[in-house]
C-alpha cells in the first residue's frame, strides 16, 4: 500500500526527483506570481483611471478569467499559442509542429490567471487610501510620479499584503494544473512515479504533503510580513 522505500534518494528511489519537482513548483509559482503582479499593476491602474475604454477592457479581462475554469485557460493558452504560432509560421512556409517551452507557457498562463485576482486586490487596496492624502500631496507640490511612488505605493502594498497572500496560495495550488501540459512539477512527477511503480497512494500522498509544507510555510512568511508592515500600528 504505502511504500516509503520508494522515496529514498538516489537511483533506486524517487526522493530526489520529487525534491527537484518541488523546486520546479516553487520556481513556476514565483515567476507566475511576479508576472501576475506586474500585469495587475497595469490592469488595476486601467480600472481606477478615468478612461472608460481601458476600464471596460480591464473589467472584461478580470470577469472572464475569474469566471472560466483555470484548466480551460491553461488549455487555451498552451494549445492556442502553439496553434497560433504554427498558423503564422505557415505563412512563412514552415509546416512543422511548434510548441513552446512548457515552463514559459505555464508561467504565462498561471500568471494571467493570478493577475486577475491581484488586480482586484490592488484595486481594493487603492480604494482604502484616503483621498485627502492625494490632495495633500498635490498641495505640497509633489509631482504625479512622486505621489505615486512615495505616497501611494507603500500604502497600497501594506493594504494589499493580506490579499496578495491569498493570491499566492491560489497561484501555488494552480500550478498543479500545468502538469497537464507536461511540465515536470510536483503533480507531474508524482503521476509519472505512480504509473511506473504502481503505487499511486504513496506518491499522491507525498505530493499532498509537499504542497501542504509549501502553503503552510508561505502563510507563516506572509504573517511575518504583515506584522512587519503593521508595526506602526498601535497594538490593542
Amino acid at each position: 500500500m504505502l511504500k516509503f522505500n520508494l522515496l529514498i534518494f538516489g537511483d533506486t528511489g524517487w526522493g530526489d526527483e520529487m525534491l527537484f519537482s518541488c523546486i520546479m513548483t516553487i520556481l513556476v509559482s514565483l515567476s507566475a506570481m511576479g508576472l501576475g503582479v506586474f500585469i495587475a499593476i497595469f490592469t488595476a491602474w486601467a480600472k481606477i483611471s478615468g478612461n472608460i475604454v481601458l476600464k471596460i477592457i480591464a473589467n472584461f479581462y478580470t470577469t472572464v478569467i475569474r469566471g472560466v475554469p483555470e484548466l480551460l485557460v491553461i488549455y487555451l493558452i498552451f494549445f492556442g499559442s502553439s496553434a497560433g504560432i504554427m498558423y503564422i509560421s505557415k505563412i512563412f512556409g514552415y509546416y512543422g509542429y511548434i510548441e513552446f517551452n512548457a515552463f514559459t507557457m505555464g508561467t504565462i498562463s498561471i500568471g494571467i490567471i493570478s493577475a486577475a485576482y491581484s488586480t482586484e486586490v490592488f484595486r481594493g487596496a487603492y480604494n482604502i487610501i484616503d483621498r485627502g492624502q492625494i490632495e495633500a500631496a498635490r498641495a505640497l507640490g509633489l509631482s504625479k510620479i512622486n505621489t505615486f511612488i512615495k505616497i501611494l505605493t507603500p500604502q497600497i502594498l501594506k493594504h494589499a499584503l493580506p490579499g496578495l497572500g491569498n493570491v499566492w496560495q491560489i497561484t501555488l495550488k494552480d500550478t498543479a494544473l500545468i502538469s497537464v501540459t507536461g511540465l515536470v512539477e510536483i503533480m507531474r512527477q508524482s503521476r509519472v512515479a505512480a504509473n511506473v511503480t504502481h503505487s499511486p497512494l504513496t506518491f499522491y500522498l507525498t505530493a499532498a504533503v509537499l504542497y501542504l509544507i509549501l502553503t503552510s510555510f508561505s502563510s507563516k512568511a506572509f504573517n511575518k510580513l504583515e506584522d512587519y508592515s503593521n508595526k506602526n500600528q498601535v497594538k490593542a
Binding site: 475554469p69 484548466l71 488549455y75 487555451l76 498543479a176 494544473l177 499522491y204 504542497y211
Partner: protein
Amino acid sequence: MDIQLIINNFFSILQGLDETLILIFLSLILGFFISIPFALARVSSIKILSQSIYYYIFVIRGTPLLVQIYLIYFGLGSIKAVRDSFLWVLLKEPFWCGVIALVINTVAYTTEIFRGGIQSVNKGQIESCESLGMSKFTMYFRIILPCAFRQALPAYGNEIILMVKATSLISLTTYMEMTGIARSIMYKTFAPVEAFIAAGSIYLFLNFLVVQLIKFLEWKYNPHLRIKT
C-alpha cells in the same frame, strides 16, 4: 478563428452540460448539509472536536484539488481492502470519485465560511434567546443559523463559483463533462481555440447566473438593507 466551428462546438459541448450540472448540484447540496454540523463543531467548546475540524480544513485548503481528486481516484483504488469492500461500487466510477473529492473540498471551505457567519452573530441575540428560555436547539435553528447564513451569503456565492470552476478538473478522471468534451473535440479537430472558447463561454454564463442568484438572495434576505423608494 472559425465562427461556424465555435457554434458547432458550442452545441456539442452543451450536451455535457447536464453532467456538469449534476456534479455541481450534488456536491453543493451534500457539502452544504455536511458543513453545518462541521461549522457548529468548529465553534464548539469541545477542544478535540474543534481541533480535528481545524486540521481537516488546514489540510484540504493547503493542497490543490487535483491532488485530492487523484488521491481518491487513483490512490484509494490501489488499496486492496478498498477494492474488496462495498466502497468499491462507488470508487470505481469516475463520477462518484469526482463527487466525493468535490464534497470533501467544498466542505472545508464552506465550514470556514459558515464559522465566520456564526461568529458574526451578535452576542446580544444569544443572550436574549437565553433569557427567553429557548432551548439550545431552537436557538441555533431559529436564530443563529439563519443570521449566520445571511451573513455568509456573499462568501458562499464565491464558493459556488469556485465549485462551478472546480468541476472542470473532474474531466481529468476520464469523466466526460463539458471540459472533457471540449478536450476531445480539440484532439479531433486540432482547433484548440475554437473548442475552448465555446466551453469557456458556457462556464462564464453559468457563473453569471450564480452571481445573479446570489444577488437576488442577498436582496431577499436583507430587507432591512433595501433602499426604501
